[in-house]
């Protein structure tokens, strides 16, 4: 099968296009500038709409508008821009509108820097904006996955009428890797709830405002049931070298890819260590991790931040095993060797 050499931004854009995305609105911010640039060329080619919005806020609200009238729509940005989009994401969740948001995470807080980071884990997995809601979050570890998950995200968004986030970073955004394309989608789901003009039907409305006492509570319980279903059905994760393990590294995205090399080094040294990689950060694979934890004595959590996913690992760690954390915040990217040294220092030969 033909493979295409693309940057992460380009691959994700193609994934969206192949999934039938017809609307993109964005705003320049490093390290995802290639995304709007590429979409400005590709959207008109596929009969879609590209708009360079006046702000991140406007971009997410344009995506809201596209979702309102039933189109598959996407916006991309990087951390500070994603913060600005949070109000819009909350409205998408409240109005039960499907959309895909790509975050090429850079270092923060504030303006931070433009280097890769995983510091938006909390923001991505805990709703991010105001109100009781969840977004489905995929964390790819290479360009192929970034393509695949973007392609898939639209179906999941439509299935649950919920915004879906792709949490990648500055490395995956910019790195060039070969990508295998999937079949472009021709048949997209019919959305009877969409606003298209009320010809031949009663008027539709889209809203998240429920002023009558008790109605919002009902709406929130309805969302809760949906979230429970997502937790039940949509968990994705991968395990590597986990057949005979005494300890385990838990890591996601780019950092997991680095840890994969660490585990290979450690295995050569005879250390019985494995790697657990959550792919959906929400819903988090608590049960699957908990089952694995039953077999081991020690957990290492490695993240490119000050320790965020570790909170979810703690929830899965009912056995109360010792957890050792290695983090590189502010755009720091660890090498496989430095993680290996950390593991050695904390005694992996149990």
């Amino acid at each position: 099968m033909k493979r295409n050499l693309l940057t992460g931004c380009e691959a994700s854009a193609e994934g969206a296009i192949h999934a039938g995305c017809k609307f993109y609105a964005g705003y320049p911010i490093t390290p995802q500038n290639r995304y709007p640039e590429y979409m400005s060329k590709r959207m008109p080619e596929v009969g879609g709409i590209f708009i360079q919005a006046e702000s991140e806020i406007s971009a997410i609200n344009m995506v809201f508008g596209a979702a309102v009238c039933g189109f598959r729509a996407l916006t991309s940005s990087s951390s500070p821009g994603i913060s600005l989009k949070q109000e819009g994401i909350s409205y998408l969740a409240g109005c039960e509108l499907p959309a895909v948001i790509v975050n090429m995470n850079r270092g923060g807080p504030g303006l931070g820097d433009v280097t890769p980071s995983q510091s938006d884990y909390f923001q991505a997995t805990r709703g991010g904006g105001h109100g009781d809601y969840r977004t489905i979050v995929y964390a790819p570890w290479n360009v192929q996955e970034l393509y695949d998950f973007t392609y898939m995200a639209f179906d999941i968004a439509d299935k649950y009428r919920n915004p879906v986030l792709i949490l990648a970073d500055g490395i995956i955004a910019q790195i060039l890797e070969p990508v295998k394309f999937r079949k472009p989608k021709k048949k997209l789901p019919v959305k009877k709830w969409a606003l298209t003009g009320c010809k031949g039907r009663k008027p539709n409305s889209i809203k998240s405002l429920f002023l009558t006492p008790g109605i919002l509570e009902k709406h929130n319980w309805k969302l809760y049931k949906k979230y429970k279903k997502i937790e039940e059905k949509e968990v994705k994760y991968e395990m590597y070298f986990c057949n005979d393990i005494e300890s385990l590294i838990v890591s996601f995205g780019t950092c997991a890819r680095i840890c994969y090399e660490t585990v290979k080094i450690a295995r050569e040294e005879g250390i019985k260590i494995g790697l657990f990689r959550p792919i959906t950060l929400w819903p988090f694979p608590y049960k699957q991790l908990e089952n694995l934890i039953k077999k081991i004595k020690k957990i290492y959590v490695v993240e490119m931040n000050l320790g965020q996913m570790i909170d979810d690992v703690k929830i899965a760690n009912r056995k109360n095993l010792p957890i050792y954390f290695y983090g590189r915040p502010g755009g720091g990217v660890p090498t496989p060797e430095e993680i290996y040294n950390f593991i050695k220092k904390n005694g992996s030969n149990i």
Binding site: I51, S58, C69, G88, G197
Partner: protein, 249 residues
């Protein structure tokens, strides 16, 4: 017997939730009449603001969506671009459009989006019970300008029509009022022209309507109408500010 006055089809049979003497009822009806007359009810999509008129979808008998505070023009932009043969309009108050959402309306205008903006200016935040708006007049008392709006302290009110008319992408700008029967008729004409321009693809229209908020102005409905005539329309001059489709273009 001929029926000469009835509820427009574009309005639902709903009991109003607007306050006595509020201008929204009149303006909703004018929009509904225009949409009926142009026979576009089944292809119209409205975008409601945050503010009193967020509830517009309860009253309009066509497709209406909510939008985040100030973002209606961004939402409308996407809808119109994706469904160019539908008629798309936003209905926004002064806080929504001229404060938090001023970037969205200016840029939608600059892009020359083929949409219609209905801007209801009552010089106050209605839903939150009477704070200073970007269009609150000098010396006007509100709950956040209890001694009156002092221009050296609170700044000047924004004249949106004058501002929007400067943008090359904007096709039609008019300021109207609902303070008298002749002015209500003029308001309807302006709304109709704006929707017609959208149908004819003439482009972005901006209709500012001076309206009442008697409860927060602490006036009777009659006093509120008189206040538009005697005070508000002295500051916000009525008239056509731009018309690319007509003689002023």
């Amino acid at each position: 017997m001929e029926v000469i006055y009835k509820k427009p089809e574009s309005l639902k049979k709903e009991i109003t939730t607007y306050c006595p003497g509020c201008g929204h009822g009149i303006i909703h009806r004018l929009i509904a009449e225009v949409i009926d007359e142009l026979k576009i009810r089944e292809i119209t999509i409205g975008v409601a603001p945050v503010g009193c008129a967020v509830l517009a979808y309860n009253f309009f008998n066509f497709d209406v969506t909510e939008s985040a505070h100030g973002r209606a023009p961004a939402v409308a932009t996407a809808i119109k671009r994706l469904l160019p043969d539908r008629i798309v309009f936003t209905y926004q108050g002064d806080g929504d459009l001229a404060a938090i959402g001023i970037a969205e309306v200016i840029h939608a205008g600059a892009r020359g989006e083929n949409i219609t903006i209905i801007f209801v200016n009552n010089a106050i935040y209605g839903m939150t019970k009477g704070q200073m708006a970007p269009t609150t007049l000098p010396e006007q008392k509100t709950t956040t300008t209890i001694y009156g709006r002092k221009i050296h302290y609170h700044g000047y009110p924004i004249k949106m029509c004058e501002l929007m008319a400067q943008l090359d992408g904007v096709s039609y700008v008019e300021r109207v009022s609902i303070d008298s029967i002749p002015n209500i008729i003029k308001t309807k004409s302006a709304i109709k022209k704006a929707f017609k321009y959208q149908i004819e693809k003439i482009g972005f229209s901006f209709i500012e309507i001076l309206s009442t908020c008697p409860v927060n102005w602490k006036m009777s409905p009659k006093q509120a109408m008189d206040w538009i005539t005697e005070v508000m329309s002295k500051h916000y001059i009525l008239g056509v500010y731009k018309d690319k489709g007509g003689s002023n273009g």
